[in-house]
């Protein structure tokens, strides 16, 4: 079978696709943190002397909203740098 | 190369590939797609953060701390659908149950992809629970003394909003562990 596709190449190819798809999760924190920043600016406008509290709450909420974007980043990094699927395939091959 | 030709070509190369490699390849794509659910909590928690900042501005003296605490509590609950999809992605990546299952290669590969696709439903609960967290942070900002009642109502509502996320998790787990499609 001359066009036998090398299994390892296929896994690498699909890992690249998977890493790319994982980063789509970045849309969420983008929209959410933008909304938080907007509301934060509006809040500081309404109550300037409470500015430090407002900024603290806004930053805290924005950082909490960051986490799912970080999850996507971590899965993408795992797929790119430390690909467990390749090592699993290698184990299966030489078993 | 009409549509029939394309399909033949696609199915064709799937046949002469080692089925284990096909399953692992589609698992990679499935794990990537599962993470798309991160959109939900991102938007929801961002909304909660904005509303909490607004609540602090409306009632800075005694409303600041309760609003922040309620926002954090609500955001922590809104986090669960993001955690579910992370768990499924990690299962698919590190403890892939489909590889050493006996069955047709294409079916197992499609199951892995399906598990990832079903987790995209996490967007819904993420946004919904974030909305609930935001509105309750705003409510606590207005009436800090009613904090415990507001928090209880918020948790109840968020739990109900979580159900569709749990359905998606169940379907994904069935696809991964119970080989229904013999």
């Amino acid at each position: 079978m001359e066009n036998q596709i090398d299994g390892r190449a296929l896994i690498l190819a699909c890992s690249a696709i998977g890493a790319g798809l994982a980063m789509i999760a970045g849309i969420g924190p983008g929209i959410g943190q933008g909304f938080a920043a907007g509301k934060g600016a509006e809040a500081v406008g309404r109550q300037p002397n409470a500015q430090s509290d407002i900024v603290r709450t806004m930053l805290l909420g924005a950082a909490v909203a960051e986490t799912t974007g970080i999850y996507g980043l971590i899965v993408a990094i795992i797929l790119l740098f430390a690909n467990p699927l390749i090592s699993r395939y290698m184990d299966l091959l030489n078993k | 190369m009409d549509v029939q030709g394309i399909i033949d070509f696609l199915i064709g190369w799937m046949e002469n590939v080692d089925p284990k490699a096909l399953v692992l390849a589609f698992s990679a794509i499935g794990a990537g797609i599962a993470m798309i659910a991160g959109i939900g909590p991102g938007i929801g928690q961002g909304f909660a953060a904005g509303k909490a900042a607004e609540a602090v501005s409306k009632n800075p003296e005694e409303g600041a701390r309760p609003a922040t605490i309620v926002m954090l509590l609500g955001s922590a609950v809104a986090e669960t659908s993001g955690i579910f999809s992370l768990v499924i992605a990690v299962i698919i990546l590190f403890a892939n149950p489909l590889v050493n299952k006996e069955g047709v290669g294409i079916v197992l590969a499609a199951s892995a992809l399906g598990a990832g696709l079903s987790m995209v439903a996490g967007i819904g609960p993420g946004i919904g629970q974030g909305y609930a967290a935001g509105k309750s942070a705003e409510a606590v900002g207005k009436r800090p003394k009613l904090q415990s009642m507001i928090v209880r109502t918020m948790l109840l509502g968020q739990a109900i909003a979580q159900t569709t996320g749990i359905y998606a998790l169940i379907v994904a787990l069935i696809l991964l562990f119970v080989n229904v499609l013999k």
Binding site: L60, E66 | L72, A159
Partner: protein, 240 residues
């Protein structure tokens, strides 16, 4: 040019092989710096008589301690003031870990970059998960201490009993999200800095300083602040 945690040496401890990794050595270095600074400050302040109006070193140290105490009181409330020193110490440790990307570090691997920066220990999920588990067990421990085991268990079935699994998952999700938030941000910063330093020399003129300011200083300080503030909030709301 890889970003993994290189094993510096392996030590076998009664038959069990222990891998001493880069982030362990770096965190020992940071702990050494902190302990040394504390001891030196203690010796200097002990010799001098403490004035009511502080000047010089005493002034600096007092403002830091006051700032950390106010930070704790404003987050956890007046009656939990005694958490101040603990969370102050944790904040300083995490802050220094995050900022350690700025210090020139020991070179464990022949990486192509010109300058070998220290790899921040918090860019390793083991370190951040350990810190997050401290918070998790403190939350549950103080919750049980404050409310008693029965109320604590009843608290898990918050509005209605069928929601117990969801509450348990919510509790378990806290350490995961805490540790991945700190780990993801710092690792992301380390990777971007590492990639950037492999560009040819003309790209390294002004821009890395700006990248360092954003990734190492802003993100480092913010993530340390967020981690400690969330830990304090979880512990104090568990005790309410």
């Amino acid at each position: 040019m890889d970003f993994s945690n290189h094993v510096v040496t392996t030590v076998n401890l009664f038959g069990f092989e222990l891998w001493i990794t880069e982030s362990m050595v770096n965190s020992w270095i940071i702990m050494g710096i902190l302990v040394l600074a504390a001891v030196i400050i203690r010796i200097i302040l002990q010799r001098r008589t403490l004035q009511a109006v502080p000047t010089g070193l005493q002034n600096v140290v007092e403002t830091i301690v006051e700032m950390l105490d106010n930070f704790t009181v404003s987050t956890m409330g007046e009656k939990h003031r005694n958490f101040g020193p603990f969370y102050g110490g944790m904040f300083i440790y995490i802050l220094l870990c995050n900022l350690s990307g700025l210090l020139p570090g020991p070179k464990y691997v022949e990486s192509a970059g010109y300058i070998q920066f220290m790899r921040p220990p918090t860019a390793d999920v083991a370190v951040t998960l350990a810190l997050a588990l401290i918070t998790f067990f403190m939350t549950q421990g103080y919750g049980i201490k404050a409310k008693g085991v029965k109320n604590w268990a009843k608290g898990l079935t918050e509005p209605m009993w069928p929601l117990t699994p969801l509450n348990v998952i919510g509790e378990l999700a806290n350490p995961v999200s805490l540790s991945f938030r700190l780990f993801g941000n710092i690792l992301g910063g380390t990777i971007i800095m590492g990639l950037y330093y492999n560009l040819p020399w003309f790209a390294l003129v002004g821009i890395p300083a700006a990248l360092h300011i954003y990734f190492d200083i802003f993100a480092g300080v913010l993530q340390a602040f967020i981690f400690v503030m969330l830990s304090m909030t979880f512990v104090s709301s568990a005790m309410e």
